[in-house]
């Protein structure tokens, strides 16, 4: 890849995406081939927000490549608590590590941080902005299960604040994919994302009812609707209930449907779906490791 940093999925061309996914498939098939390749290489983890999957899978990926991580830890125990700016923090930690992974509650924080460092910096989620490494593992999972071209995908739930949704929708414009966006009106895609999709020539199909499109879908990507987005509990229960799926919902879907979720889930997908062939969300989470190994290999390999 020709990029030093990975900040948003917008910077990725189809060729870039395929390079990462192909490398991930090679690693997935033969992880031993890269074990030890990055012995002595350190990845700096800067998580200004809680994370389980993203942080642990980056750590796993780096260690499986033979390298190690240095972790800033929680912000309560760091110099950030003393009022240090992000610009200072990343400049200090780039002296300790060969690449940085940053999650931050502020939109645009990784972009700003990348302007201060010379080592590769990867955005691991910035507020309601972007989450490009989640997108890469989502694309990998879609490619494995349904293929990325001639694809019909429904993306459902909180499309307004869901950064995984924004990154994925944009990346899919590189492929022959029909995208359907299913959400309550109050949680539709932000107009900035719609603008970007239109700029790429994509058609934005918005629905408030999954039944409108379910039977046509190859992939259903479910996201969590958060309680705090609603003024009161009743309103939340009423709305969220319409965007939950269970075995009964899936009766109207194709037998080949792939159901995905970036996790964590609360009650958007009933546990009885887990046992079906459609359920792909745990596989999706596991794919975070080979995909992040591939990404680190490409970023560190180029910068070495």
């Amino acid at each position: 890849m020709r990029h030093d940093h990975l900040i948003t999925s917008k910077q990725l061309s189809r060729a870039d995406i395929e390079t990462v996914l192909d490398r991930a498939a090679e690693i997935d098939a033969d992880p031993e081939a890269v074990a030890g390749k990055y012995a002595g290489t350190l990845l700096g983890l800067l998580f200004f927000e809680p994370s389980t999957r993203t942080k642990m899978s980056f750590e796993t990926a780096m260690k499986r490549l033979g390298g190690d991580v240095v972790d800033m830890g929680s912000i309560e125990s760091s110099s950030v608590k003393k009022g240090e700016t992000l610009a200072d923090t990343v400049r200090v930690i780039e002296g300790y590590a060969d690449a940085l992974v940053l999650r931050h509650p502020r939109q645009g924080a990784p972009k700003m941080a990348s302007e201060y460092v010379d080592v590769p910096l990867v955005n691991a989620g910035d507020g309601a902005g972007h989450h490009p490494t989640q997108t890469l593992l989502d694309l990998y999972t879609i490619r494995e299960n349904a293929g990325l071209d001639d694809l019909t995908i429904g993306i459902m739930g909180d499309l307004k604040y869901g950064r995984t949704v924004h990154s994925l929708a944009y990346a899919l414009t590189n492929f022959d994919a029909q995208q359907h966006f299913v959400s309550p009106e109050s949680l539709q895609l932000p107009r900035e994302v719609v603008y970007d999709l239109h700029q790429e020539g994509a058609t934005v199909r918005e629905h408030d009812d999954l039944d409108d499109v379910l039977s046509t879908l190859d992939v259903l990507y479910v996201t969590r609707i958060q309680r705090e987005r609603f003024p009161d509990e009743d309103e939340y229960q009423k709305v969220a209930g319409q965007y939950q799926i269970d075995l009964e919902t899936l009766e109207a879907a194709s037998d080949d449907l792939t159901v995905m979720h970036p996790l964590p889930r609360v009650d958007e997908i009933a546990p009885d779906v887990d046992e079906t062939d459609s359920a792909s969300y745990f596989e999706q989470a596991h794919n975070g490791v080979p995909v992040r190994m591939a990404l680190l290999d490409l970023l560190l390999g180029d910068s070495a």
Partner: protein
């Protein structure tokens, strides 16, 4: 008598000796133009403002004349966002020395503030705001927020 009346009618805004005349501002935007230039009269500048004056090119235009002040490129850039049809006349010794049409830049830096409270530029970080200029608005380079209306409200204090 009738001549002098006609002159009175035309010369709503007096001539300036040295400074800038910004003409063909969209009707109603003159005060925003002054805000961009940071002119509020408190420093004793000699300023004349005409608002909603009949115009051949625009149905109604505003015009601003500032004595003793020439505009910087940054100021012209931002001006172009709210007054895209404006012409800028630099006046020296009562003569128009140079006449410029404003040109919309691709990017404006350090002049506007992002309205998104969650944007990294809305913090104490050492970061200069940067907006991409779209056909019909501006877009924060950091968080992607698009602003199409009331761009003048984003001008940094």
């Amino acid at each position: 008598m009738s001549d002098s009346n006609a002159n009175d009618h035309k010369l709503r805004v007096s001539k300036i000796r040295d400074g800038t005349v910004i003409d063909h501002i969209r009707g109603g935007q003159a005060l925003n133009v002054l805000a961009i230039l940071g002119i509020d009269g408190s420093r004793g500048e000699e300023v004349s403002v005409g608002m909603n004056v009949p115009s051949d090119r625009l149905a109604r235009k505003d015009i601003v004349k500032v004595e003793g002040r020439e505009l910087s490129q940054d100021e012209v850039d931002v001006l172009s966002l709210i007054a895209p049809d404006a012409t800028i006349n630099i006046v020296r010794d009562y003569e128009v020395e140079a006449k410029h049409r404003v040109e919309r830049p691709d990017v404006v830096e350090g002049v506007l503030e992002c309205p998104n409270a969650d944007c990294i530029t809305a913090t104490d970080e050492p970061v200069t705001s940067r907006f991409e200029v779209l056909e019909d608005g501006v877009r924060c380079d950091y968080c992607g927020t698009i602003v199409r209306e009331n761009i003048a409200d984003l001008i940094r204090e």
